[in-house]
């Protein structure tokens, strides 16, 4: 018996008939050859989030970002004109990685007036123009204006910086995001500058990892230990249902109901003592942050009471906006067919008091406790898949975004195969 109404077709999955309902193959997650196709078809064609504008607040602020799947390192920098630009992190002289600190393969950040190559001292302005060639007269008819840094397409949406490695992206960022994701644009991301950042390298395919962050079917099992002991059997038995799913192009949304999150309405014996004294926990601080009126696009299913909207930005980024007035992000960067870097961030309004800070600390610690549960489980999933003893896996209606995600990945890979080979 469904707890929430489903679409007229009877299920969320059948509401999107192109998805089908058959068991699915996970060959796309265990094949080195398929990963090579994904790199070309997806990571060199889709718009990829690489950070937020607050990370480069002033003229000359920059960070570098390695994106193994696109075989790239980029420099993202704020110019004299305030514009955010991205360049390949490669010196035009002899190809040295231009910006790095101490360890060439690690990312770095800082503020500078210009970029100077550590090898032969060539210099570049914040707009990428080559401004100085060491011993220029030794060269043969060199024109510095031909030797600017190689730009990467870069656009900003709601303060999130996106890049695209295609020579000419087939869509602008806004076209690519589409109406559902554009609906979060007016959320006050820019005010939410208290940030807790996390990172880990895991041994799982990037999609196997992403899957767990687009369904909550696993939550009453994998994460049931986050609740007081006497509640666990009931929570697992109840299972999970979402009141709203939505698919828009390659992107997805799952919304959860607020009733699950209202810990403060529960009898105290059902709440951890540390949650009571910090007035915070698994779903964030209990005190609602005052964000003013929120855009209707953060709850397009009009779920009431609303708890959380998890927006899945294809291919590898998610924003989770919580009722209590904070948000977190997940990002999945493949480094091979069966490994990835997982990045998580928890954002909120700057704390103005110690009690607010303690509430945010509890939320950030809980985020780590459950992310560890996910990360380890997904390494186990990868090993199971790689055993190749099973070739079809059933997905239920609460896994509709997982089904869509793998279908979209397959569609993009097949789309590339149909393109005429460029001379």
């Amino acid at each position: 018996m469904a707890r929430y109404p489903k679409p007229a077709e009877g299920t969320w999955t059948e509401h999107y008939p192109e998805l089908g309902t058959a068991p699915v193959s996970y060959e796309d997650s265990i094949s080195p050859e398929f990963y090579e196709l994904e790199r070309e078809a997806i990571f060199k064609r889709a718009w990829l989030n690489v950070g937020r504008v607050e990370e480069i607040p002033r003229t000359g602020s920059y960070f570098t970002k390695s994106i193994a799947a696109a075989n790239a390192s980029i420099i993202v920098v704020r110019g004299q004109d305030g514009e955010v630009r991205a360049f390949h992190n490669v010196c035009r002289h002899r190809g040295n990685r231009l910006v790095w600190q101490d360890v060439p393969h690690e990312d770095t950040s800082g503020t500078c007036r210009q970029f100077t190559c550590k090898y032969h001292g060539w210099r570049y302005g914040l707009d990428g123009a080559c401004t100085f060639v060491q011993q220029e007269s030794e060269f043969f008819d060199i024109d510095k204006s031909d030797y600017g840094l190689v730009p990467v397409h870069c656009e900003v949406f709601a303060g999130f910086i996106f890049v695209n490695f295609a020579k000419e992206p087939s869509q602008t960022l806004r076209e690519f995001l589409g109406p559902m994701l554009l609906g979060v644009e007016d959320y006050p991301f820019d005010r939410m500058t208290d940030r807790y950042a996390f990172r880990v390298e895991c041994r799982a395919n990037w999609k196997v990892f992403s899957d767990a962050f687009m369904e909550f079917y696993h939550a009453p099992v994998v994460h049931v230990g986050q609740h007081p002991r006497h509640l666990r059997a009931t929570i697992t038995e109840m299972g999970y249902e979402a009141p709203h799913y939505q698919i828009d192009g390659p992107h997805g949304l799952v919304t959860t109901a607020g009733s699950l999150h209202r810990v403060w309405d529960m009898p105290p014996e059902n709440v951890k003592p540390a949650d009571i004294v910090t007035r915070s926990g698994l779903f964030g601080p209990w005190e609602q942050s005052d964000l003013g009126e929120l855009p209707p696009g953060i709850n397009p299913g009009n779920v009431s009471p609303w708890g959380l909207s998890s927006f899945q930005f294809f291919p590898n980024f998610a924003i989770l906006i919580w009722e209590a007035g904070w948000y977190n992000t997940h990002q999945f960067w493949p480094t091979s067919y069966n490994s990835l870097v997982f990045e998580g961030n928890v954002y909120s309004l700057p704390a103005t008091s110690a009690s607010e800070r303690v509430g945010r600390e509890m939320a950030a610690v809980a985020f780590k406790e459950y992310s560890l549960q996910d990360a380890n489980t997904l390494e186990a999933t990868q090993m199971g898949l790689e055993a190749r003893v099973i070739d079809r896996f059933p997905l239920n209606d609460q896994e509709v975004l997982v089904r869509n995600f793998h279908k979209v990945v397959g569609d993009w890979v097949h789309e590339l195969a149909r393109e005429p080979v460029r001379a």
Binding site: A197, V200, R229, K272, A274, P350, S353, A354, V358
Partner: protein, 107 residues
């Protein structure tokens, strides 16, 4: 290290007044459950009062004693999970991985 009102927590200060989450996490993983239970039992009845004490100061201009107390509260948060949920220092079934906090607000 701590304000005089919280002198009873002083025995825990050396181990648990840690400035960053990676230091607190390392302290948790290298502590016995008995050690963490003793710290938890001592601080739990005083946490509300301790937060209120820190609230008396501007967050970004707190005297050293209050900053140490706030760090002790952060450590209470991180040991509350083993004590209240896991009955062991690390999250069950997570020994094959890690999740490093690479930046956090101050203090």
């Amino acid at each position: 290290m701590l304000p005089p009102e919280f002198a009873e927590l002083e025995p825990f200060a050396e181990r648990w007044c840690r400035a960053t989450e990676p230091e607190r996490w390392a302290a948790r993983l290298s502590s016995s459950m008995d050690d963490m239970q003793a710290f938890y039992d001592a601080i739990l009845p005083r946490v509300t009062e301790a937060i209120a004490y820190c609230d008396e100061f501007p967050l970004h201009d707190m005297p050293d004693g209050a900053v140490h107390l706030l760090r002790l509260i952060y450590s209470f948060v991180i040991v509350s999970f083993p004590v209240e949920l896991w009955r062991q220092p690390y999250v069950p079934d997570t020994l094959g991985t890690s999740f490093d906090r690479t930046s956090e607000p101050l203090p």
